[in-house]
């Protein structure tokens, strides 16, 4: 996991989560726990007095440190976890295009339609079932097809990824990209993210703690 580079103004406080450690504890069934402020510990922090306390259902005051026999096994989630908008009928299909010469937007969109047409039978059908396209942030489109058909799309030439699509903009229930309606592209620049780099300067290779993908003792080499 990358670390934010902190000079003196401490920006990096984020922990690296990319670790292969299989240490887990989750024997409590608590789903989403935003605990209430316990009345015992009245904490007089500046600024805290006026802020609304989220009172979602609290799990327990469970802490692995309190648990007499913490069960450090990786328990799978009891209920299926799905991203919002993910229904296994909306699929994100990413295609590959050669770099030189870089094809025009029109060419790419044609390719999308033609590709989907191969599994749906006609370009008409394909145009009806494409709900989003992108040629900038990524080169792909969103299609409304069954899970079974999605496996067929995967095998077509030029197709790089076929992944379950979900809301890019959850509050507005929007799958993102440019809209594609009746064969026409309706651009939505707010969903275009050009060449995103992490906010830290990563121009130089950094030592990554993610090297420690297994639990290995870090030795001091002097």
């Amino acid at each position: 996991m990358a670390h934010l580079n902190a000079r003196r103004t401490l920006v990096s406080t984020l922990s690296r989560a990319f670790s292969r450690s299989f240490a887990t504890t989750s024997s409590s069934r608590c789903r989403f726990t935003f605990a209430l402020l316990p009345t015992k510990h009245v904490v007089s922090l500046p600024h805290s007095a006026n802020f609304p306390v989220r009172s979602k259902s609290s799990g327990s005051s469970y802490s692995p440190l309190n648990d007499p026999s913490p069960n450090w096994s990786n328990r799978p989630p009891k209920e299926t976890i799905l991203l919002d908008g993910c229904d296994y009928e909306h699929w994100l299909i990413v295609m590959e295009f050669p770099d030189n010469p870089k094809p025009s937007e029109e060419h790419m969109i044609n390719a999308y339609v033609k590709t989907l047409a191969q599994v749906l039978g006609s370009e008409e059908e394909a145009k009806k079932n494409i709900y989003s396209v992108s040629t900038s942030t990524y080169t792909g489109f969103g299609a409304l097809i069954s899970e079974e058909l999605s496996y067929k799309v995967k095998e077509l030439p030029g197709v790089l990824w076929v992944l379950p699509d979900s809301y890019l903009d959850v509050p507005n229930k929007d799958y993102g990209g440019d809209l594609f309606v009746d064969g026409k592209v309706i651009p939505r620049p707010q969903y275009r993210y050009s060449e995103r780099q992490p906010s830290r300067n990563r121009s130089r290779p950094r030592h990554d703690r993610r090297r420690e993908t297994m639990q290995v003792e870090r030795k001091d080499y002097d």
Binding site: Y88, E148, P164, Y193, P198, M214, V216
Partner: protein, 611 residues
């Protein structure tokens, strides 16, 4: 050549290239400016930012006078280049030099300690003490750094004490504190702080989520992530995505991993190096090597983590030649392997029975790369010897290794002895194990079988007694099958709650009948309990992985791979059954159990019946 001009040139050199910095250094010496501050300090800074840490150190040593700026610059350079051992020695010499650090130096010192990690808690506390006693003890920036340092040490309560002493809390201090609690698994405190923070921005969410993932609370991390998405927080930094991908890897959630991958693409982070690394690892852990390789090949820049992830992934799935070929590629591309790479490589050798290659790699790791072998390395080496029948070497290694082998390691060795028919050695090891407190029921079964095979009935009943005692705390076996919208977790013996139970049982009965036609007979030696033959067969019938497979067959798209994750070692009988099912139904079944990956296809398993 004026001082000001040189200054500005140095500053821009820092952003451009080491070569330019060195060129300027030469000019500075010739112009006789190398003793006039602020030039030496700025040069030091440039070298630091260009990553020329050795040159920076040399320059520092040559300075006639070291002012606080020089120290701070040097420490910053160490932190940037992330050479913890340099930082360590510099910190120690600073503390004992009688020099009085200012708040800038303290901040860099604390950061260096944080980077050194939990092994150097003492040094961190020393620095804290010095800071506390210094005239700068009110400095909030240093205090925030201390909170972060304690978070990295896994001591969030210390951090909290400092947190309370901060006079004006900002986003950074809150985030550091939340991160501290989340990383050490103190969920309650983390959530509490999160609900209080006035800075509920992406960084706070990220700190909470990645801390939860790191402390093993992946499921909770997902729920928090979903909540974050509900609030429409703009993902301007991809760190949170890579944490969630990491959680998918740990829990082998292929479907969810794909959903996150889609999100990574639509948010524009497809070309981000560390996200790609996380995705390779996730796909590998979810047994989708094709996808892992795709991602690897598409990356324009690959670092040691990228190479290691793909090598370990291919190795763990038994693709030994591929893993070794990838290693050659890695060496050719100039990337240095690390300790994890070698775990993967030795593992690869154990799959292909390449004993001398494995030993050579182990030696190379120690001698050429200076890496100290860990338990994992020894375990893989043991695996290598065991699988290829070099049992004496294996036993010697077990006795000689400086780290204590864990239970799966002993179990692997024992089953190797059994497999190769070396009863004497098996009994020797079994006697040793009898005194240890074994956790996995399959280890007891193994012991019992070993003694039974040697005719040592007294010991068999001894083991049985131990099993009964242990039975109370036995971890229930469960298998989860990953099916997009309809994933499910099956616990051994229970289907009464599932809506499709009749179909599942029906299918299992059908398959059972077909299997018996093909000559299958349940191997009841793998059943722990004392019961009659019929009961034992019934017990096996309900093993969770069979339920999971049946459900998978019913619900998944025809022809696709069924993916299952089991918490315990797959038992002998289930292994046979799964092989048969794969050939009867003509489907591939991928099972990840406590220790290995099994790919069942056409009646065979990728582990070659050795697990």
């Amino acid at each position: 050549m004026t001082v000001a001009k040189v200054q500005s040139q140095l500053c821009s050199a820092a952003r451009q290239s080491p070569f330019l910095a060195k060129k300027l250094h030469a000019q500075i010496i010739k112009a006789g400016l190398n003793r006039f501050q602020p030039i030496p300090n700025t040069l030091l800074d440039s070298y630091g930012k260009c990553g020329l840490i050795e040159d920076a150190l040399q320059l520092f040593d040559a300075l006639p006078q070291r002012d606080p700026v020089a120290w701070a610059t040097l420490l910053t350079a160490c932190n940037l280049s992330n050479r913890p051992h340099h930082a360590l020695s510099i910190s120690r010499s600073l503390l004992s030099s009688g020099f009085h650090p200012d708040h800038f130096v303290f901040a860099s010192l604390v950061k260096a300690c944080a980077n050194l990690g939990a092994l150097h808690v003492k040094l961190g506390k020393q620095v804290h003490a010095r800071f506390f006693l210094s005239p700068f003890s009110h400095d909030d920036v240093v205090k925030s750094s201390l909170v972060d340092m304690y978070a990295k040490f896994g001591l969030p309560d210390y951090g909290r004490a400092v947190f309370y002493s901060i006079s004006s809390l900002n986003s950074i201090s809150w985030t550091a504190m939340i991160s501290g609690y989340a990383r050490s698994g103190q969920k309650f405190e983390a959530f509490q702080l999160f609900s209080q923070t006035p800075y509920r921005n992406l960084f706070a969410w990220t700190a909470l989520i990645s801390g939860l993932v790191q402390s093993g609370n992946g499921v909770e991390a997902f729920h928090v992530f979903l909540e974050m998405r509900h609030e429409g927080v703009s993902v301007t930094d991809p760190l949170v995505l890579s944490s969630v991908v990491g959680a998918c890897a740990n829990l082998a959630l292929w479907e969810l991993g794909k959903q996150i991958h889609a999100l990574v693409i639509t948010l524009g982070y497809e070309s981000c190096l560390f996200i790609s690394n996380a995705l390779i690892d996730m796909y590998a852990k979810c047994s989708d090597l094709v996808a892992a390789k795709y991602i690897f090949c598409e990356m324009c820049r690959k670092d040691v983590v990228s190479w290691t992830s793909i090598i370990v992934g291919t190795a763990q799935h038994g693709q030994a030649e591929e893993a070794l070929a990838l290693y050659d590629g890695m060496v050719l591309s100039g990337v240095k392997p690390n300790e994890v790479t070698f775990v993967g490589l030795i593992h690869a050798c154990s799959h292909a029975g390449l004993v001398s290659k494995g030993k050579a790699l182990f030696r190379s790791m120690v001698e050429d790369c200076g890496i100290t072998p860990s338990l994992q390395h020894y375990t893989c080496l043991l695996d290598l010897f065991s699988r290829s029948g070099h049992l004496d070497e294996a036993e010697n290694l077990v006795r000689a290794m400086p780290v204590n082998p864990d239970e799966p390691t002993w179990a692997a060795l024992l089953s190797a002895c059994k497999h190769h028919g070396n009863t004497q050695m098996a009994v020797r090891i079994a006697n040793h194990l009898l005194n240890l407190k074994l956790e996995d029921p399959s280890s007891y079964i193994l012991l019992s079988n070993v003694y039974a095979g040697a005719g040592m009935w007294k010991n068999v009943s001894k083991v049985r007694k131990l099993m009964l005692v242990m039975d109370v705390k036995k971890e229930p076996g469960y298998s989860s099958v990953d099916l997009g919208k309809e994933s499910h977790v099956f616990y051994a013996g229970e289907t009464s709650s599932h809506p499709m139970k009749d179909e599942i049982i029906g299918l299992m009965r059908e398959l059972d009948a077909e299997m018996r036609k093909r000559g299958y007979a349940p191997d009841t030696s793998t059943v722990l309990h004392d019961m009659d033959q019929q009961e034992k067969e019934r017990q096996l019938f309900w093993h969770s992985e069979r339920l999971a497979v049946a459900y998978g067959l019913l619900k998944s798209v025809q022809g696709t791979i069924i993916r299952i994750v089991k918490n315990l070692r797959v038992c002998g009988d289930c292994h046979t059954v799964l092989k048969l099912i794969s050939s009867i139904t003509n489907r591939e079944i991928y099972v990840r159990d406590a220790k290995r990956y099994h790919h069942f296809k056409d009646g065979n398993c990728s582990c070659n019946d050795f697990w």
